[in-house]
């Protein structure tokens, strides 16, 4: 069967099980958009290519399947660099197809030419420039394989226009042959045994859980391990929901804006079992002062993470699910072999910290609206399995701190890259992937302005997401740092609460727009939004700009130096 390169590309995407892709056509990718008309793949037309990338990420976050996006050459390709980098930092499986100028004119500075493969090399797991239409099925197969296996990540396939127009004889490769790519999934048995032995000696253990648990679909295995050992669990920003927040062993988020107990338990631990986590600087604080007395067991499918930041006592390369399942067996054997020391004293200490240092804020009935209160009300007045997407900044940290993530794959978040503007398109992608679930984007006013135009996409495609803007009229996190570390010298952080008018803007984009500026209106507004299911909703919550995210470990400081909410110093606190 003769097909054009373009037809072969679409057919290959279908063969890989692609049901939906996000994109925007243009000159160089035109040939590929033609066979798309006859394809079973649903295409969602975005308003900016960055949105296509983040939607594909949101889709992958919520479903675990690779997100697929397609854009044209030149400026479109450079517009997807941000989502590619975001996906690279957070290990999100993403397949990006870009158009390219005809192969015959590559290197001549042709119209809308750019070196896409060169530009995206540092932000993709791998990328390909197609030079022969006969390679297309093989490359697409390899692309999906690389994106979804081992440590997942983004890949890019650059398709020159003439290659898309040329004919090839259709085939579908039975298998993938990449001699230089063989992820090691099965953990080393002896290392796992060593890990179990360390666990059986620990008196102050903590399971330090990262996003790898979600990527490996290991939430159930993790729960079994936690309950078997009775070890407390901290879940990083990327792992929120990997272990249920309402579980008695869950300590919540550690790190720069983590809660006191999660941070301090890691600091004072004698054993950290890091599972799919990468000792990010936002978790460790000053590395030299991080968990100084802890032995470390480190499990990761990417060997380069082991010893990159902290040298583990027991390194284990492997898929988190497979390794944890083996770990459970090894722990059982170890428990049968000898008595484990009691960690009662440690757990009592942890409970005492939790009681002494809860997360606090105070919402006065007649006072300004507190962002934390809005999040609490959203949490309490939405279904338990609601998917939440966040942007980056104060609102993101409050969301991670206050939401109760009891199910995996319910928090769609930009962690490593910290991409402002992530929430709206990522929420759209998540809703496309999980139309059965309610999807809320909790966004800041600064973030919202970066990618809000994708609400036009959501309206046009009838994707009824809900957006809560915590509008404090500032780039809030930057303001917080200027207040605390730059002597309240506020430089370029004021945004205005009224410009733009978020309600009118939402309405102009085909959404329902609402405004809420008093505490008593919060719940009725949320309930009204929950009832709308035929179009997107945007709520402009006017929140108190003075509110800061606590606890906080200043950048570069030791995790021993947690700045608590000042209310903790007032006898009786403010809560």
């Amino acid at each position: 069967m003769k097909l054009t390169g373009a037809q072969a590309l679409i057919k290959s995407l279908e063969m890989e099980g692609t049901e939906v892709m996000f994109g925007l056509p243009g000159g160089a990718i035109l040939p590929v958009y033609d066979p798309l008309i006859d394809s079973s793949i649903r295409h969602i037309l975005v308003r900016h290519e960055q949105g296509a990338g983040h939607m594909a990420e949101g889709f992958a976050h919520a479903t675990g399947r690779p997100g697929v996006a397609m854009v044209t050459s030149g400026p479109a390709a450079t517009n997807v660099v941000t989502p590619l980098c975001d996906a690279y930092m957070d290990s999100i499986p993403l397949v990006m197809i870009t158009g390219q100028v005809p192969y015959a004119v590559i290197g001549t500075d042709a119209f809308q030419e750019c070196d896409t493969v060169g530009i995206t090399m540092p932000v993709t797991k791998h990328n390909w420039l197609v030079t022969d239409p006969a390679d297309i099925p093989r490359i697409v197969r390899e692309a999906f394989h690389v994106a979804t296996t081992g440590r997942p990540g983004p890949v890019l396939v650059d398709v020159p226009k003439d290659v898309a127009n040329m004919e090839m004889e259709w085939y579908w490769p039975e298998s993938v042959d990449l001699p230089g790519y063989k992820p090691n999934l099965k953990g080393h048995a002896k290392q796992i045994k060593d890990a179990a032995r360390l666990m059986g000696e620990a008196r102050r253990p903590v399971l330090y859980v990262g996003g790898g648990i979600l990527k490996a679909r290991a939430a159930e295995a993790l729960r079994e391990l936690a309950e078997l050992t009775g070890f407390p669990v901290v879940t990083t920003l990327m792992a929120r929901g990997a272990f249920p927040d309402d579980h008695e062993l869950c300590l919540g988020m550690p790190g720069m804006h983590g809660n006191y107990t999660a941070i301090t338990s890691m600091q004072q631990a004698d054993l950290l079992v890091a599972l799919g986590a990468r000792f990010d600087d936002r978790v460790t604080g000053k590395v030299g002062a991080f968990a100084p007395n802890a032995k470390v067991v480190h499990v990761d499918v990417d060997p380069a993470e082991l010893g990159k930041v902290r040298r583990p006592d027991v390194p284990i390369v492997g898929d988190c699910r497979l390794v944890i399942e083996e770990m459970v067996k090894a722990v059982r054997a170890e428990k049968a072999r000898k008595d484990w020391p009691s960690i009662e004293e440690w757990m009592a200490q942890i409970r005492a910290w939790q009681e002494r240092y809860p997360l606090v804020y105070e919402q006065l009935d007649d006072g300004p609206l507190k962002p934390q209160f809005c999040i609490d009300m959203l949490r309490d007045h939405t279904p338990d399995d609601t998917i939440v997407a966040a942007g980056v900044g104060q609102h993101q940290m409050w969301t991670s701190q206050r939401w109760k993530f009891n199910d995996p794959y319910t928090f769609v978040v930009s962690g490593g890259l910290g991409t402002m503007g992530f929430a709206v398109p990522a929420a759209i992608g998540a809703k496309v992937g999980r139309p059965d679930k309610m999807v809320w984007a909790i966004d800041g006013d600064g973030c919202f302005q970066m990618t809000a135009q994708e609400l036009v996409t959501a309206s046009a495609e009838r994707i009824p997401i809900k957006v809560a803007i915590l509008n404090n009229a500032y780039l809030g996190m930057v303001r917080q740092w200027q207040e605390l570390f730059y002597e309240e010298r506020y430089s370029e952080v004021y945004l205005s609460p009224d410009l733009p008018d978020y309600v009118k803007w939402a309405e102009a984009m085909g959404c329902i727009g609402m405004r809420c500026d008093t505490p008593e209106d919060v719940v009725p507004t949320i309930e009204k939004a929950n009832e709308i299911d035929d179009r997107p909703v945007v709520i402009d919550f006017r929140t108190d700009y003075r509110e800061k995210v606590y606890p906080m470990v200043p950048a570069g400081a030791s995790n021993d130096d947690v700045i608590l909410d000042p209310a903790h110093d007032i006898p009786g606190g403010r809560d």
Binding site: P122, H126, G180, P303, L306, P315
Partner: protein, 178 residues
């Protein structure tokens, strides 16, 4: 630039495809690793090329280099060649000032090092030297007083020594850490 242990020699087998060198050079640059020398050539199997990369041991954590290199899909295999246990060779061309009076001294020196005189001019001559990096260092030191006009070295290539003892290849494939 000698074979002293402040350098690591990595022999990296890669797929022979365009862009592979860029991927490797880019990785070194963005991870802040320093390349001392680099030689690339096809192997006996045309699907693969071999890169001999010499890295500075002090500035570069070898384990991270090899692990990060291993993550590149076109990288098939990485072997660290311990400097004492490898056959290392490098080629040097050096143009040295050679007045008619100095010529014979330089020629004598070249003979000691089994170097070849490749070109002779009125005031200079170009010498070709091949051998282990230490030999190249030595002759360039000795030529220095005559006045070196230009000097170029290829970067070293290396293969493991054929030991009479069991193989001493130290594979440093990151995937084997666990």
């Amino acid at each position: 630039m000698n074979g002293a242990p402040q350098h690591h020699i990595l022999s990296v087998l890669v797929e022979n495809k365009f862009g592979v060198l860029t991927r490797i050079a880019g990785l070194f640059a963005r991870r802040g690793f320093n390349i001392v020398s680099l030689a690339v050539s096809p192997t006996e199997d045309e699907r693969f090329s071999r890169m001999t990369i010499v890295v500075d041991a002090e500035s570069t954590p070898l384990e991270q280099v090899t692990k990060q290199l291993n993550k590149l899909i076109p990288v098939i295999k990485i072997v660290e060649l311990p400097p004492g246990d490898a056959v290392e060779r490098e080629l040097m061309l050096v143009t040295v000032k050679a007045t008619p009076e100095a010529r014979s001294q330089i020629t004598e020196l070249a003979a000691i090092f089994e170097a070849k005189i490749d070109d002779v001019g009125f005031e200079a001559m170009t010498i070709q030297v091949a051998g282990p990096p230490s030999k190249l260092d030595a002759i360039s030191d000795l030529l220095q007083p005559f006045g070196i006009v230009e000097l170029q070295r290829t970067g070293r290539i290396a293969l493991p020594k054929l030991s009479r003892r069991p193989a001493r290849l130290r594979a440093v494939r990151g995937a084997r850490v666990g």
